[in-house]
Symmetry: C2
Subunit: 254 residues, 2 copies
DNA sequence: CGACACTTTGAAGACGATCAACGCCGGTGG
DNA sequence: CCACCGGCGTTGATCGTCTTCAAAGTGTCG
């Protein structure tokens, strides 16, 4: 509809790194803006895979439903992230999960063939896609390891730490961007367990009251989480967090 | 060393699908054969990422070590699979895990730049890589979900089922291809738990005695595993297994 | 034969899921 | 305006599962 409403923010996405402005223009003008209100489904498990999406604003929940009716949230995606590349590149016919808007969201929608052709035609884009998906694969394998070896408290602390980095929150004080029920589903635990766990985190350097979180002792948290996180030095979230807490400490000091 | 020792088996790997014979020749002749005896490390966590590998024969264990000394096996790779593409494409400087030969293995070794250049130059290869890595990302996320929601018995049953498909074993009777200790590490559980669990699987259609396994009631197993496996119809292993058990039943019947 | 790695089995304990009850809040409707 | 409701979160009690610790059995290889 609108010819060029969302230029720079989208063009600067990592997916398009290494492409000329000209190439970005050409590619992006095939995108269709799609608005998705809070609670509205983008697609369902089993639907055929028809589009690739860039998230312009808002947040999208990816989840699956077990036969016993429970939902497991796989990931919550936010502005600047992409959606669908994995299933498209794996040449799935039908979606393997559900996608629903958690808050009012705006997406840029492209056809499957757009992505496949673009990956063939522009090798930087193919490499960017590879990098994105490789990163996802790695994080997913770390996730599996965490699920296997970390306690509920460590899972929650790790989650809060990474949440803080991803959303660029001030660790000293921020509000949870979505409900505790959703967080519990994301972490694969029951809401009761999450509730009890949050209370216990005071001993580990994190205070949670209602939806207000303060990671008041980031160093202790990092030790607590990374103590069982075998990726230690490699985990982008942890190193980011250390830098960040350093940064905030610096700002406070000066 | 040897000019063309391992031709067709390697050329028919999915990674090279869509390339001409000429192109495959050109690419493959840059590979160096590397032999790796049982127990020998291919690389360690922290080593710089220098090569990409095709596994010609044998099997390679990927694992990480927690600070408390325990090893978590991420995956066991076998002939026909590749190694290193993930870390290369994610542009890691150093390895995020250890790789060790479980049995005497033969690999074909390529430089990092070989892979990156090939992905840029040959778009089918880039797409094949994308497909491989996207599949890994998906399986890893399913793994995380399994770790969160499945019982030890379900994890083991699921593992045996997939093992059977991957190695093209006859479900009616096969030997475990590696130790129970390794399997426990792969499944993120203690060896004691695995030992106890294997005994209990009799009720679910699987008999295990020593290292001999018989999935005598594949249908029941599939129901048992998929009952909590939310990917149900999508899981390649499960559908494969159903086909396979159908196949074996057919062979028996005729 | 003895060393050692691998596996099994038993008993105790920790942790998280489950069931149940209740408090809190925002919205709807009388 | 107040009563009722439903979604969300908290708290308590109980139960099942997996880990942990300990001991002993099995196998292979020098």
């Amino acid at each position: 509809m609108q010819p060029t409403v969302l230029p720079e923010s989208v063009k600067s996405m990592p997916l398009f790194a290494g492409l000329t402005e000209q190439e970005k223009e050409t590619l992006l003008k095939e995108g269709r803006v799609r608005e998705c209100g809070r609670g509205q489904a983008l697609f369902h498990h089993g639907d055929s895979v028809t589009h690739f999406y860039l998230i312009i604003s808002g947040s999208i929940q990816l989840f699956r439903e077990n036969p016993d009716g429970k939902e497991k949230t796989i990931e919550v995606l936010i502005a600047g992230q992409t959606l669908g590349e994995n299933e498209i590149m794996d040449s799935c016919r039908s979606h393997r999960m559900n996608a629903t808007a958690i808050s009012d969201s705006v997406l840029l929608e492209f056809s499957v063939s757009w992505l496949k052709t673009a990956a063939q035609k522009y090798s930087p884009l193919a490499l960017n896609l590879l990098s994105t998906i490789a990163g996802q694969a790695y994080m997913a394998s770390v996730e599996a390891e965490h699920q296997a070896y970390m306690s509920a408290a460590q899972l929650v602390a790790c989650f809060l730490q990474r949440l803080c980095v991803l959303h660029e929150f001030n660790p000293q004080g921020f509000d949870l961007p979505y409900s505790k029920t959703l967080i519990a589903s994301r972490l694969g635990m029951e809401i009761e367990t999450l509730s009890r766990t949050l209370a216990k985190l005071k001993d580990q350097g994190i205070i949670v009251e209602g939806s207000r979180v303060s990671i008041y002792d980031a160093i202790r948290v990092a030790e607590y989480v990374c103590g069982f996180c075998s990726i230690s030095g490699d985990c982008p979230a942890h190193t980011e967090m250390e830098k960040k807490s350093g940064f905030f400490l610096d700002t406070q000091a000066s």
